[in-house]
């Protein structure tokens, strides 16, 4: 493959959402908006495939005078952005049109929705491919700004509240990450001299071992807290359930499936540098500890939820915590499990939010107790909810069980990093197993309650096939397919990415 093709792919990757965003403001009529959207996301996916091949062949791709850097780690994240983005775009087609038809929003506001949606996509792609830690920060803050109006899109009291909370908490969190970036620059300048490339990941990785451990330690703590807020790790998670509940279903799917993953990516990137300067024990311990806390608390929060969207939100916190444990413990198995978990979670959670969107449109309520008898009311959605729910509860043979098992294996074989616990402590493993059972029971209990039973009176029965069902069927079959086998290219991608992280 020639360098030019790759360059073209990289520029298309960044241009597609940007151009589509601007076009969305210009064209009128929902049909053209959807066409623009689908073309843009299709281009994005195509470009990703070309880049992924190049990454396989060369190990990494740099472009535009080192402004763009893509390796296996970023390819995994790009893969998630592309697939979940495509599924969301298809789902938006029927979801948004119905909202317009019912008069919930004016047709004009659809333009704004697509503009923000594309800016959101663009910011996430930029955060994933940026070589400079500074540009990465700018892009992640831009995701906050683009999504805050998407969360408050219905303009109800509750959605304004959720949007404000999200804007303030995430902006503050991410300001702390900027301080971390400044400190990282501070340490790298002393090694690299005053060059504009001193924040570049490619440069930092080369000189990481010479960076001053005190400064990098402090920088990593700030970066971790900042980006951890976006991931929704536990002390900084309070915006997350509100935002997921109030956001339109496709947006919630993007937030849960993709944005969290991008934030995890930012943390992993910084970790790759901090590992060599400080010690993998320190950074990994921080990740694993916060992951464990998130997992534990979210598991118990799942038990007390009465609102199905909040239920999924807390399940997001739980799964992100678990993936963090995987990355924190590290090693080949831990990292592989972490990546596999991220991908599985992205698919299952977006499917869950699509189902939630359908249920909400029919039942007009988010209370779990008022939703009964989905099998008769919305058979396709019931199927989707069941598949995603069982997958999220990590019921074998679903792949989330596999990835959980991998993370658990990694944890029990090497334990939490030394710096944080006494060697040979079995407590984290027991805690993980216990909370896994709690979350499993909680999720299963709530979801089976919604799926079976007799439907409340006055609810229209039957489900009409629409474009929005395509992504549901696709994601559902992918999740079921993962039970049987993991495609080779994905396994290789995960292995390459874990090898990058495990490199000392």
């Amino acid at each position: 493959m020639t360098g030019q093709t790759v360059m073209l792919a990289v520029s298309l990757l960044l241009l597609a959402p940007l151009v589509a965003g601007c076009l969305s403001l210009l064209v009128s009529g929902s049909r053209w908006l959807h066409v623009t959207n689908l073309i843009s996301i299709g281009t994005l996916v195509g470009a990703e495939m070309v880049i992924a091949r190049a990454v396989f062949a060369q190990g990494s791709v740099t472009a535009f005078a080192d402004l763009v850097y893509i390796d296996a780690l970023s390819s995994v994240i790009l893969f998630i952005i592309g697939t979940v983005g495509l599924a969301c775009s298809l789902y938006i087609r029927s979801y948004m049109d119905e909202q317009v038809a019912r008069g919930v929003i004016a047709p004009k506001r659809l333009n704004l929705f697509f503009f923000l949606f594309h800016m959101f996509l663009f910011a996430m792609v930029l955060a994933t491919v940026a070589n400079s830690l500074g540009v990465q920060w700018v892009a992640i803050e831009a995701t906050t700004l683009a999504t805050t109006f998407l969360i408050a899109f219905w303009r109800r009291r509750e959605s304004l509240e959720a949007g404000w909370k999200y804007l303030i908490l995430c902006s503050v969190g991410i300001s702390l990450a900027l301080f971390g970036v400044v400190l990282m620059y501070y340490s790298s300048l002393r090694v690299l001299g005053d060059v504009s490339a001193a924040l570049n990941i490619t440069q930092l990785q080369q000189v990481a071992a010479q960076l001053d451990p005190h400064i990098v330690k402090l920088a990593f703590i700030f970066l971790f807290v900042g980006y951890g807020t976006k991931v929704g790790l536990v002390p900084m998670h309070s915006w997350l359930p509100d935002a997921y509940t109030e956001a339109p279903a496709p947006v919630a799917a993007m937030l849960a499936g993709v944005l969290e993953t991008v934030a995890v990516y930012a943390i992993l990137r910084c970790r790759g540098i901090a590992d060599q300067a400080v010690s993998p024990e320190f950074t990994g311990g921080l990740l694993a500890l916060f992951g464990l806390i998130s997992f534990t608390l979210a598991a118990f929060f799942i038990l007390v939820q009465h609102n199905y969207k909040r239920l999924f939100a807390y399940s997001s916190i739980e799964h992100m915590g678990l993936a963090m444990v995987g990355f924190g413990v590290g090693g080949t198995i831990g990292n592989f499990g972490g990546f596999f978990h991220l991908v599985n979670h992205a698919f299952a959670k977006s499917l869950a939010f699509f189902a939630a969107g359908n249920i909400h449109r029919r039942f007009k309520t988010v209370e779990i107790d008022e939703v009964r008898g989905l099998t008769t009311v919305l058979p396709w959605t019931a199927m989707a909810l069941l598949i995603s729910g069982l997958a999220l509860a990590a019921l074998p043979p679903f792949a989330l069980f596999n990835s959980e098992l991998q993370i658990l294996t990694a944890l029990s074989s090497s334990g939490l990093p030394r710096e944080w616990t006494q060697p040979g402590t079995r407590f984290p493993v027991v805690l993980l197993l216990l909370c896994g059972v709690v979350a499993f029971a909680g999720l299963l209990y709530r979801i089976t309650g919604m799926v079976w039973g007799s439907a409340p009176k006055g609810i229209v029965h039957g489900e009409q096939w629409s474009v929005g069902h395509i992504p549901i069927v696709l994601l559902g079959s992918v999740l079921v397919g993962f039970c049987l086998a993991l495609p080779d290219f994905m396994r290789e991608l995960f292995e390459a990415a874990s090898a990058l992280l495990a490199r000392r």
Binding site: S132, G134, E141, W164, L167, I168, V182, Y185, L199, I215
Partner: protein
């Protein structure tokens, strides 16, 4: 300029940073919203001056650009937007505070000490000129963080956020003589958009809740 020894230059930059810190305390002590905005504009002016001084002493061109942008964005545009927002509000003062003013000031004093304590091990590595500014920058960030928690009006929270951003900018100037230009431009863009968005939000909150008191935002309970 023979009188301009490195020692005096350090003193001047330290003085500028100290003025930034001082305005932080003034904002914490101020109840009137419009005065808070004025103080924020003043703080940004001090920031631009400090950055320009650093640029002058170190002969780093691109910090001048950042300083000029600070004047345009944080001294002129954002305060104007905020003033416009405040005019539409029915409340112009912080009436109820979670932490009263004297206690807030004491806490902020403690935060300054904390900032010096945290940065102590890494300060000796810095440039001579701006050594102490890094600690002051962290202090401003922490005070902004605290103000955000302790105040309830959406506007005050926004000012606190911008204050944090000022602290970060001072940190970047102090620790590293500015970030790469592309990053700095991006940060300015983000801050500007964040302020505009928060301004629009404040208006909507006013329209919907008839108040910008964020304690009224309590309909979403677990």
């Amino acid at each position: 300029m023979a009188w301009l020894t490195p020692h005096i230059a350090t003193q001047i930059v330290d003085f500028g940073s100290a003025m930034l810190l001082l305005t932080c305390f003034a904002i914490v002590a101020q109840r009137r919203l419009s005065a808070c905005v004025d103080l924020f504009a003043l703080q940004s002016l001090f920031l631009a001056m400090t950055a320009a001084l650093v640029a002058f002493f170190t002969d780093t061109r691109h910090i001048y650009i950042a300083a000029a942008l600070t004047v345009v964005v944080k001294v002129i545009v954002i305060p104007r937007v905020l003033k416009g927002v405040i005019e539409r509000l029915n409340v112009t003062r912080e009436l109820v505070m979670k932490v009263n003013v004297p206690a807030s000031l004491l806490i902020c004093g403690a935060l300054v000490m904390l900032a010096f304590f945290i940065t102590e091990p890494i300060i000796p590595f810095g440039h001579l000129l701006t050594r102490d500014s890094l600690a002051i920058a962290l202090a401003i960030v922490l005070i902004g963080f605290f103000t955000m928690i302790a105040r309830q009006k959406a506007v005050t929270q926004l000012i606190a956020f911008l204050m944090m951003e000022n602290g970060l900018f001072l940190g970047a100037t102090a620790a590293t003589y500015g970030m790469p230009l592309i990053v700095e431009l991006g940060v300015f863009f983000d801050v500007l958009v964040a302020a505009l968005i928060a301004g629009i939000y404040t208006n909507r909150l006013q329209d919907t809740f008839d108040s910008v008191d964020t304690t009224r935002l309590n309909e979403l309970k677990a």
